[in-house]
Amino acid sequence: MNAMPPLTRRLLLTTGGALVVSFALLPKLAALAQNVPKLPGDLDKTPMLDSWIAIDAQGRITVFAGKAELGQGIKTALIQCAAEEIEVDPAGITLITADTERTPNEGYTAGSHSMQDCGTAILNAAAQVRGILIELAATRLNLPAEQLKATQGTVVANDGRSVRYGELLTGQDLHRPAQPTSPLKDPKNFVVIGKPMQRVDIPGKLTGKPAYVQDMRPNGMLQARVVRPPSYGARLTQLDAGAVESMPGVVKVVRDGSFLAVAAQGEFQAIDAMEALSALAKWEQGPVLPEQATIYDTIRQLPSNDSTILDKGTPGQQGAHTMRATYHRPYQLHGSIGPSCALAIFEADKLTVWTHSQGVYPLRNALADMLHMPQQQVHCIHVEGSGCYGHNAADDVAADAALIARALPGRPIRVQWMREDEHGWEPFGPAMISQAAASLDADGKLIDWQYDVWSNTHSTRPEGPAGNLLAARYLAQPFAQPAPKPIPQPEGGGDRNAIPIYTVPNARVISHFIPQMPLRVSALRALGAYHNVFSIESFMDELAHAAGADPVEFRLRHLDDSRAHDVVTMAAKEFGWQPDAKLPRGHGRGFAFARYKNLAAYCALALELEVEHETGAVKLGRIVVAVDSGQAVNHDGIRNQIEGAIVQSASWTLYEEVTFGRDGITSRDWSSFPMMRFPAAPESIEVHVIDRPGEKFLGTGEAGQGPAAAAIANAIADATGARLRELPLTAARIKAAIGI
């Protein structure tokens, strides 16, 4: 697992870095560089081809990606991109992901950016490498390049001669910067991209092969557990750990200020010791939390930084109909099934951390800051964990492991959080509030749109300063949490998808960014788009109703983008959507559409459900989805992501809410924070992929989150006549709304 990269590559990477620096230092060249066209995807940040692709003398191909497998199937899709353009069998490619000493720095694996940034880089790098191989073969065989073809790891000439890739390359051939354009294949000739290919990681995971950081157990490893405080900001005031240190298997109690942990030989011994420590520790309670019952009022009263992110025409027009609505979304959990885990070893002044963090480079920098170490002395290697769906406790547990490893040099330290801590301490998806107002003219066309959204930040990721690592805030010399920042448009954070995709002549959208965070929050899949699409797409249905229009037709009349038209039309057609369809009592159907971030994948869905009148319980029926992800590399991968997004979003939407009292978080397990179980899963989900060969990749992983929530709300309204605007749409709330 700790294999060192080949020396030559390290050397090359260093050389590449030096080149970039020298460019930056020469103003003339830097000015020139500004006129250079942007390179495709993350080649723009890491332009040297050999940072991405290496081919050895035997022709073995290694591809280096700075994005990580989070369960979304990215490894398989990246291998497909590389194999297609280099012209080799996918099985012949070794993919190395997210490692601070081996791969390009592609920041976080987040925001549905992997295909767009990394897939695009690898596709183009692979095509350029193929071009170089053909050039080299042309020289070798003394033939024009037009008479040569790359296939199956070999360059073949018209005259029958051939040279294998491994024979063509010498040390520095791929050590050159990428070009702005690449000799990409015509999608008509694709044999790997867009063709069925099973996930490369599934067989191992399903047969007990070590696949996760949780499965690592190097020789001499100790098992460690952390005793978290009883609530946010509590301070450890008294501890006599003597009795714990003599417990069976216990190796060391580690304390630094209010950070408290124990390392033991056995995992159950570590858990026993953690419980004993927890019973002995005396804490001074931190600041009290706000009342949950009035949390939305509390949030609205906090100071906000307001920015107008859309101002078009003359907002404030009165029409034939004016409508207003307010929507709420509670704090929600990532709730990874496997609590966060990390392995760390501190030896010879160097720290190595195996982590399922979404960003090994930013984590490395934050760990270096926390431990006052040079960044080069910290090595972070991504190893898969349980699915994360955003910024969960992955980085925090890496910090825990690092602190314990520093106290026990030379011993590999494995830390896994307990379920109660994962539920209680992970950074939640922030609670949000939105207000929408719109006017329709007499023809049922939108003439005015005003939308306000209030939210905390959607990223407190550890970008460099240590203060966003949980443990760092509890050390004897604590790190302060950095001031939160909004994620700017066009991607946005709390205001992601707050700008309507629909055509309205007069519109204003205001994003109210609230710096003060009553609960710990950060990025949860889709960020603000989950709430904003829920709000906008619920509101569009309310407006369609006011206009006396079919909700699908009402959306189409306000959509100019032909690809948006195509997904909406396909979802409606495949569902069998009929205006004015009559459904049995208690049954409803709902439609929703969004283009994620207004710049990634398009996703439209129609669903039907049944509301049990006596209880308000929702039974999800058939769900039909259309998605346009641009060039589709792996159709089943796209379907799997969309199905997953819809089921996960349905669970958030119907059941999920973090609960808290004045003393702390109270939803600390799957009983107090219930999620969807099999009997409540939809009857079926059918995903139709609209492939766009040759078009850009459009990130898909988060595209289903918002539309699923709104379609459910719309179907509940259709089934019951009750419009629910506060998430989650629980049976109790539905029952209260429909009455006896």
């Binding site: 499965d215 157990r217 099934i337 496997g338």
Partner: protein
């Protein structure tokens, strides 16, 4: 010393008999498939079979398991020769992160050993103790149905051969 029969092999285990089976499987026997999810018997990531019954190995102390027949995913088949439930899950690509899937497969194996052709409602009820956060439920349901068919077909073939 506790003697455990795991996947048909006897193992002498020298740990505190209060230790839940999960930690022994993972750390003493180095079997990766069963996973820690909650330690509370709420999520099913740790599901294994004991005498044909699915159990939460995270809360079951080894002291009660001597003489019982314990099975994990490693006992269903290998990457080279996956068992019918594993094959069905691979065919349906029924995994995203995959962390919960070994528990799902053991739950499904337990169901199919009791009921060779369960209805959709019976499958959903039987799988209810196990959680998947990635939202792979639709594929898992398809995989269990596929596994049921494959096992029925296998059983048919065996009966044919016996004649």
């Amino acid at each position: 010393m506790t003697v455990l029969n795991v996947n048909g092999q006897q193992h002498r285990i020298d740990v505190d008999p209060r230790t839940p089976l999960l930690y022994v499987l993972r750390n003493e026997l180095k079997l990766n498939a069963a996973k820690f999810g909650c330690g509370l018997g709420q999520c099913g990531a740790c599901t294994v079979l004991v005498d044909h019954e699915p159990v939460f190995s995270c809360i079951l102390p080894i002291s009660v398991l001597e003489g019982r027949y314990i099975r994990t995913v490693e006992g269903l088949g290998s990457e080279g020769r996956p068992g019918p439930v594993q094959s069905a899950f691979i065919e349906e690509q029924a995994a995203q992160c995959g962390y919960c899937i070994p528990g799902m497969m053991m739950r499904a194996q337990g169901l199919l050993e009791h009921n060779a052709s369960p209805s959709d409602a019976q499958i959903r009820d039987a799988m209810a103790p196990n959680l998947c956060r990635c939202g792979t439920q639709m594929r898992i349901l398809r995989a269990v149905r596929r596994a049921a068919k494959a096992m029925m077909a296998d059983a048919g073939t065996i009966q044919e051969t016996a004649k």
